[in-house]
């Protein structure tokens, strides 16, 4: 087994942990929300990488492909692509919600720095 067999998976793990690192050291909540999106992009990379098959074509058949030919051609996994699409929607909408919350935090607290938000303790 060579490094290339796991490289894409390692990239996914790197993004997940890198996003977490960004949140841990963040000084700005907008930055933290974007770091969360980075962590999530690790899941896109992982899912798409899992579905890849060397030499296979996309799982979308042109209008001219007869169905019996389509059934026998090698394609990459469409299931993970569908999952990724769902994941993207989740990411976009959750990010929007969190940014809306960040807008209100900035208004009500006058700051976006997590170090200065001290009203929920103990």
């Amino acid at each position: 087994m060579s490094i290339l067999h796991v490289y894409a998976y390692l990239v996914a793990g790197w993004l997940l942990l890198g996003g977490a690192f960004g949140i841990a050291r963040s000084r700005n909540l907008i930055h933290a929300v974007v770091c969360l999106s980075i962590a999530q992009s690790g899941t896109y990379v992982l899912l798409i990488a899992i579905g890849y098959q060397s030499g296979a074509s996309p799982p979308v058949f042109g209008g001219s492909t007869p169905p019996d030919v389509a059934a026998h051609s090698a394609v990459v996994d469409p299931v993970v692509q569908a999952m990724t699409l769902t994941d993207v929607v989740v990411a976009a909408t959750v990010t929007a919600l969190l940014l809306a919350l960040a807008v209100q935090v900035a208004k009500r607290h006058g700051t976006l720095d997590p170090d200065e938000l001290t009203s929920l303790r103990g």
């Binding site: 579905g51 890849y52 058949f61 169905p67 299931v79 569908a82 919600l97 809306a100």
Partner: protein
């Protein structure tokens, strides 16, 4: 924790999780391998239902229930953003928004030229979701963001003339409800929620793959409305809401 302590604890924990991730992925089937049992049956099932875009076949037929959940997340988030960005008690919404600087002539020209093209493209992506890459979600995003070319080309007032919020709130709810309604139709006709109730048509032709195009349209309507509403709430919050 102080910043320093936090980063030290983080480094230790992340190292441990990193080890866990590495030993896990090393044991996984290697990148590019041919072991995809779900794919094998999913492609066959999608072709049996005359769906040329197998990803759409998975999203709107085999695993349509996931997509229903996903559209409900979108609905919930848009409603949530509306709630979170509503003016507080000590705030109010201005009725008149100050006219911003007119955009560059070139931007206006390109914006107004691209607007119809983008909207047509969005409709095309929705309508051909079962045949070519794309679908209700992708097309809906093109439609929803494309409309905001108006904002770039004509400013907030031009956008507002064409984009009253209430119809899109209805459009969003109706799109989601239509998805559930298609599901109930399946229940009524075949006994299974979201089962196909339409003729399957011919592989690769425009009327094909049963309920997939119908669900694409429902999702396209919901997503386009949802994106427009999301942006409207953020724009209102930035441009309209002020302290009393």
């Amino acid at each position: 924790m102080t910043r320093r302590v936090r980063l030290i604890v983080f480094a230790a924990a992340a190292a441990a999780v990193g080890v866990l991730l590495v030993v896990t992925v090393v044991g996984m089937p290697p990148f590019g391998n041919a072991f995809h049992p779900y794919r094998d049956v999913a492609v066959a099932a999608a072709i049996a239902h005359q769906t040329a875009n197998v990803v759409s076949g998975v999203n709107y037929d085999l695993r349509a229930f996931d997509t229903l959940g996903e559209e409900t997340i979108l609905l919930g988030s848009v409603v949530g953003a509306a709630v979170l960005l509503r003016p507080g008690r000590e705030e109010r919404e201005r009725t008149e928004v100050p006219e911003d600087e007119p955009p560059l002539q070139a931007v206006r020209l390109v914006g107004y030229l691209l607007l119809p093209v983008t909207l047509v493209l969005g409709l095309d992506v929705v309508a051909h979701g079962h045949l070519t890459p794309g679908g209700g979600f992708q097309g809906g995003v093109v439609l929803g963001t494309g409309l905001h070319l108006l904002y770039l080309a004509g400013g907030f007032r031009a956008l507002e003339r064409l984009r009253a919020v209430p119809p899109f709130e209805v459009g969003e709810a109706v799109g989601t409800a239509a998805f559930v309604a298609v599901g109930i139709a399946g229940l009524a006709v075949t006994g299974s929620f979201l089962a196909n109730v339409l003729p399957l048509g011919t592989f690769g032709s425009m009327p094909s793959s049963g309920i997939v195009p119908l669900l694409n349209v429902a999702v396209g309507m919901e997503v386009a409305s949802g994106v427009i509403l999301l942006l409207a709430h953020f724009l209102d919050q930035a441009l309209r809401v002020e302290r009393r």
